[in-house]
C-alpha cells in the first residue's frame, strides 16, 4: 500500500513550508540581505497557505490525517499568523542583529508542525507534529543567545515542555493499549468503560493542556513568553496554541469517551485558567508579561466553549456546530489581535527589549498616536468591546455556554472579563491619560518601522472586519460537517 498523489496534495502546505525552510537554509550562505530572506519566507508562508486550495476533502495517508474545513481553517489561520509574524520579525532581527535565515527556517518548520497538528487524525502523527513545532519553538525561544532571559526562557520551555510531552506520549501508549490503535476513528469505537482508555485520555489532556497553558499547567507561560524574542512570543501566543487547541478539539469531538471523561475537567480548568490569568495579569507592570497572562485567561475563555460542546452534541437540530464555531472564531480573532499587540510591544520595546514596562507606554498617545490607537483597539478587542473581533469571539462563546445551560460558567466568565477589563483599560489609561515621568530615552523607538506598521494595519483591519462583518468567516466555521472525523 502506497500513498496516493491526492494524499501528497492534502499535505502540500506542510511540504511547502518544510521545503521553504530547507531552501532558506540553503540560500543563507548566498542571500545575505535580510529583506530578501524575509520576503522569501513570507512567500513560503503564503504559498503553503494557498496550497490548501488544491487539497480535496477527506482523510489521507491511510487515515493518519484528515483534510476537512476544520483543518483548512486552521491552515489559513496559521498561515496568516506566521506571515504576519515573519513580517513583524524583520525589523526586530535587524535591531537585535540576529541571523534571519535560521530564524525564518525554524518558524516555517514550526508552522509545518502546527499544520500537522491541525490535520492529524492519528495520535502518533500528531505527536510528531507537536514535537516539530515544540522543538523549533524551544530554539526560537532561546534565539537571542546572548540575552540571559532568552536562554532561560528556552531552558524552562524545553524542560517543562518535554516533561509534558512525556505525559502526552504515555497517554498515547495507554490509549493504544486500550484500543489497539492510535487512530482516532478506531479509538472512538472502543469500549469507553475501559480504565486504560480513561487514564490514557487523561494523560493526553495533561500533555495538551500544558501546551495550551491551562491552569495549573500555565506556570511556564509568563516566563517563557517574557523571555522569548517578542515576535516569537507573538507566534507562541497565536500559533502553537491554536494548533494544539485544534488537535484537542478534534480528539474531543471524535472520541465520545473523551467527551464524557473531559467535560468536568474542562469546566473546572476553564474557571481556574481564566481566573488565574486575569488575576495574575492584574498586578503586572511589564506589558509583555501582562499580555502573557492575558493569553492564559483567553485560553480559559476558549475552554468554556469546549465545555459547551459536550451538552450541545446532544442537541439534535444544532449539534455542537455553534460551539465549534465559537472556538474557531474566538481563536482566529484572538490570534490576530495578539500578533498585532505583541508586534507593537516589540516595536516599543526598542533595542534589547528594554522598554516594556507600563511607564514606557505612558504618554504613547501623544508620542505615537497610531501605535497607541492600534494598541487600544487590540486591548479593547481582548477586553471584548463591540465592533471588534474579540467581542464576537466572546459573544459566541457566551452564546454556546448559555445554549448548553452552562449559566454559571457564563457568569463566572462575565466576572472574569470584568476583572480583565481593569488591566486592559489600565494600559489604555496609561497610554492616553498619563504623561511619561522623566524624558523619553533617545534610543526608544519614535515610530513603528514600516514593516511592523504593515502588520499592525493588517491586524487592525482584521479586528474590525471580524467585528463588523463576521458573516463570511461565520459561514466557514458554521459549515456543515466542519470536522469530518467528528461523530
Amino acid at each position: 500500500m502506497t500513498p496516493t498523489a491526492a494524499d501528497m496534495v492534502r499535505v502540500l502546505p506542510e511540504i511547502i513550508w518544510c521545503g521553504f525552510g530547507v531552501l532558506l537554509m540553503l540560500l543563507q550562505p548566498f542571500l545575505k540581505n535580510r529583506q530578501g530572506l524575509t520576503l522569501f519566507a513570507m512567500v513560503g508562508a503564503a504559498a503553503g497557505t494557498l496550497a490548501t486550495y488544491f487539497g480535496q476533502m477527506g482523510s489521507g495517508f491511510f487515515g493518519l490525517i484528515q483534510f476537512d474545513t476544520y483543518s483548512l481553517f486552521f491552515h489559513w489561520l496559521l498561515g496568516l499568523v506566521v506571515f504576519l509574524v515573519i513580517l513583524a520579525s524583520d525589523s526586530y532581527l535587524e535591531r537585535e542583529n540576529l541571523a534571519p535565515a535560521e530564524f525564518y527556517a525554524l518558524i516555517l518548520f514550526a508552522t509545518a508542525g502546527m499544520g500537522v497538528l491541525a490535520s492529524a487524525q492519528e495520535l502518533l502523527t500528531a505527536f510528531i507534529g507537536l514535537e516539530m513545532s515544540s522543538i523549533s519553538s524551544y530554539v526560537l525561544a532561546g534565539y537571542r543567545r546572548d540575552a540571559v532571559k532568552s536562554s532561560e526562557s528556552a531552558v524552562k520551555y524545553f524542560l517543562l515542555g518535554s516533561f509534558a510531552t512525556a505525559f502526552f506520549l504515555y497517554g498515547i501508549a495507554l490509549v493504544y493499549g486500550a484500543s489497539g490503535s492510535t487512530n482516532l476513528m478506531q479509538i472512538a469505537s472502543t469500549d469507553p468503560s475501559s480504565t486504560l482508555l480513561r487514564l490514557g485520555l487523561t494523560l493526553i489532556l495533561v500533555g495538551l493542556g500544558f501546551k495550551v497553558a491551562l491552569a495549573p499547567f500555565q506556570v511556564w507561560t509568563p516566563d517563557v513568553y517574557e523571555g522569548a524574542p517578542t515576535p516569537v512570543t507573538a507566534l507562541f501566543a497565536a500559533g502553537p496554541k491554536a494548533a494544539t487547541f485544534a488537535l484537542l478539539l478534534r480528539i474531543f469531538t471524535t472520541i465520545h469517551a473523551a467527551t464524557d471523561f473531559w467535560f468536568w475537567a474542562f469546566w473546572i480548568l476553564a474557571v481556574a485558567t481564566m481566573s488565574v490569568g486575569n488575576l495574575g495579569a492584574l498586578v503586572q507592570t511589564n506589558v509583555k508579561r501582562m499580555l502573557a497572562y492575558s493569553s492564559i485567561a483567553h485560553a480559559g475563555y476558549t475552554l468554556v466553549a469546549f465545555a459547551a460542546v459536550t451538552t450541545m452534541k446532544l442537541d439534535p437540530e444544532t449539534g455542537a456546530a455553534p460551539a465549534y464555531a465559537a472556538v474557531l472564531f474566538y481563536l482566529l480573532g484572538y490570534s490576530l489581535v495578539k500578533v498585532g499587540a505583541f508586534t507593537i510591544v516589540s516595536e516599543i520595546g526598542g533595542k534589547g527589549e528594554s522598554y516594556q514596562t507600563l511607564d514606557d507606554f505612558a504618554g504613547l498617545g501623544t508620542r505615537q498616536p497610531f501605535a497607541a490607537a492600534a494598541m487600544s483597539l487590540f486591548l479593547l478587542s481582548l477586553l471584548g468591546m463591540p465592533i471588534t473581533a474579540g467581542f464576537f469571539g466572546k459573544f459566541y462563546v457566551f452564546k454556546a455556554a448559555i445554549n448548553s445551560k452552562l449559566i454559571w460558567l457564563a457568569v463566572l466568565m462575565t466576572i472574569n472579563s470584568t476583572i480583565g477589563a481593569y488591566y486592559y483599560l489600565r494600559l489604555i489609561v496609561v497610554m492616553y491619560m498619563r504623561e511619561r515621568t522623566g524624558d523619553v530615552p533617545a534610543e526608544a523607538a519614535t515610530s513603528l518601522s514600516p514593516t511592523a506598521a504593515m502588520v499592525v494595519v493588517v491586524a487592525v483591519l482584521a479586528t474590525l472586519y471580524l467585528g463588523l462583518l463576521p458573516n463570511h468567516v461565520l459561514g466557514i466555521v458554521l459549515s456543515q460537517n466542519l470536522i469530518l472525523s467528528a461523530r
Binding site: 495517508f61 491511510f62 535560521e102 525554524l106 514535537e131 522543538i135 487514564l199
Partner: protein
C-alpha cells in the same frame, strides 16, 4: 510455579528500578548518567524477553550508545561537578516527592486494576524487523518523512544554539 522467564524478568525489572532510583540518588551527573544507562540496558533485555529484537538493538545502539554518549560528552564539556542540593522551591522541597510518588502510584494502580483483561501474550517473536520496515514505509510513511524534518530541525537548532559568536 515460577518459570525461568519470570525470574529473568524480575531480575531485569529490579535492575531497571535500581538504576532509576540510583539516577535519583546519585549526586554527580556522571553517576546519574551511568545509572540511566543501566536502566536502558536492562530495558533492552526486557525487549529481548518480549521478542522485540530490533527494538532491543536500537535501544542499545541509539539510546545507550549515541544519546547517552552525547550526555556524558556534554557533562564533560561543561565539567559539571556534584550537584548542589539547593532548596529554593518550598513546593518542590516539601510537596515534590510525595506528589510525584502519588502520581506514579495512581497511574500504576490504575493500570494494575485495568489491564487484567489484556490477552496473554503468546510465545516467540510477533514482529520481524521486516514487518516493521514494511509498516514504516507504507502505513506510517508520513510521520516517518516528518521525522526526517524533525531531525533537520534538531540539527539546525543545535547549530543555532551552540555556535559561538562569530
Amino acid at each position: 510455579m515460577i518459570s525461568g522467564v519470570l525470574v529473568i524478568f524480575f531480575v531485569l525489572a529490579a535492575l531497571a528500578v535500581l538504576g532509576a532510583v540510583s539516577l535519583i540518588l546519585q549526586s554527580h551527573p556522571i553517576h546519574s548518567a551511568l545509572s540511566l544507562i543501566l536502566v536502558m540496558v536492562s530495558l533492552a533485555g526486557l525487549y529481548l524477553l518480549m521478542g522485540a529484537e530490533f527494538i532491543a538493538a536500537v535501544q542499545i545502539i541509539v539510546y545507550g550508545g549515541a544519546v547517552m554518549v552525547l550526555f556524558i560528552f556534554v557533562i564533560m564539556l561543561l565539567n559539571a561537578g556534584v550537584e548542589e542540593r539547593t532548596n529554593f522551591s518550598k513546593l518542590a522541597t516539601f510537596g515534590g516527592v510525595p506528589l510525584a510518588l502519588a502520581l506514579g502510584g495512581i497511574i500504576a494502580a490504575a493500570i494494575a486494576r485495568s489491564s487484567g483483561h489484556l490477552p496473554v501474550p503468546t510465545e516467540g517473536a510477533i514482529s520481524s524487523t521486516r514487518k516493521l520496515s514494511m509498516l514504516l514505509f507504507s502505513e506510517f510513511v508520513y510521520p516517518f518523512e516528518l521525522t526526517s524534518f524533525l531531525i533537520l530541525v534538531a540539527i539546525l537548532g543545535a547549530i543555532v544554539l551552540a555556535q559561538r559568536e562569530n
